[in-house]
Symmetry: C2
């Protein structure tokens, strides 16, 4: 369909089509829109070329960061007795946006999905265990999506941590089962956070 475009336009459409959620027609529309947007093209071009090199993982919590430590791990005014385990920096941002949690985080980047090759190794729990062994941690909050993979991962982590003298909690299922966390609204997320279940430990 695009064989009649100049080569650079064909290449751009092909590259845009490889992005998630962008089909050939959307890619076409985006590319044609961009032709006349000189400064937006410059900006996007620069950002994209820098992106993979600038964004690193925080050496403590594996959140995205441009430095060795992320803004949250560098913040000494947080509650050092709590760690919240999230799948992604996106989920971390959402929880920060709710504004009621002031502890630290640990970002998995994967959920258990053995069929797709994501086993316990990929979760990278060594860093988490190092934190638990070296800090005055009292509570680990499992804030994973209540999907099959999220639940399996929560159970697995709860099991790995069962012999540590810490409370392990999980987001309340105010979030409907099957919904991915990034689509939850703030209120639902807040309810889920406040009503987190105790999986291990005596009191809330």
């Amino acid at each position: 369909m695009n064989n009649f475009y100049p080569p650079i336009l064909q290449k751009l459409i092909k590259a845009l089509s490889s992005l998630p959620g962008i089909g050939e027609k959307s890619a076409n529309r985006l590319a044609l829109f961009l032709i006349s947007k000189v400064s937006l093209c410059e900006l996007l071009g620069d950002l994209l070329k820098e992106l993979p090199y600038k964004v690193k993982l925080c050496q403590i919590c594996r959140n995205f960061s441009e430095e060795h430590l992320c803004a949250i791990c560098k913040d000494e005014n947080r509650d050092p007795s709590k760690i919240c385990i999230v799948e992604s920096p996106w989920n971390l941002s959402q929880i920060e946006g709710v504004g009621i949690y002031r502890g630290y985080y640990y970002v998995l980047h994967y959920l258990l999905a053995p069929r797709e090759g994501f086993g316990p190794q990929e979760l990278g729990l060594e860093g988490l265990i190092r934190l638990i062994e070296n800090r005055p941690i009292k509570e680990v909050v499992l804030a994973l999506s209540p999907t099959l993979a999220g639940e399996a991962t929560s159970s697995y982590i709860a099991k790995v941590l069962e012999n540590y003298p810490i409370k392990i909690t999980k987001l309340a299922c105010g979030v409907p089962m099957g919904m991915e966390l990034q689509y939850a609204d703030t209120l639902t997320l807040k309810r889920a956070f406040l009503g987190r279940e105790v999986l291990k430990g005596t009191t809330r």
Copy 2:
């Protein structure tokens, strides 16, 4: 929501959100997807930075081209007696894809929309008139969308060209192939009826 991302990620999400059809959540998803795609980021970055400088308008038909003349205007094996008027290079590509038209094109880039500031000047018809006056043109095909703006533009161009000894045609408007008649709107059905094809018999 994204205040907890590293600055480059926030900037990229903001820039992506300014693209048509891309909201904040899609931008978020795209940006996170791209972080680990080094070569795709490089490719897209390079293409975007080149795009506005490489893509020009063909000096004859105003189709997109990386050279002074587009591939179609450089093709001497086309029928020089026909010009097809299209709104965009995208529409041109679609018609080329059909594979039954072998004449040349003229790309408007705009339709008449006086309220949005697109009047007759923006259509750039001087180039079209120059072609009609200097080439052995016998037919001008108006291939604009049958929308309010498209119809108004077709009527305007037909009027501008009324004193030239050429045939002026317009794409047939009717029920789309494969559509069940009960879903066709009244206006479409009316046009389909008025423009009905003669299958047998001499006159309408």
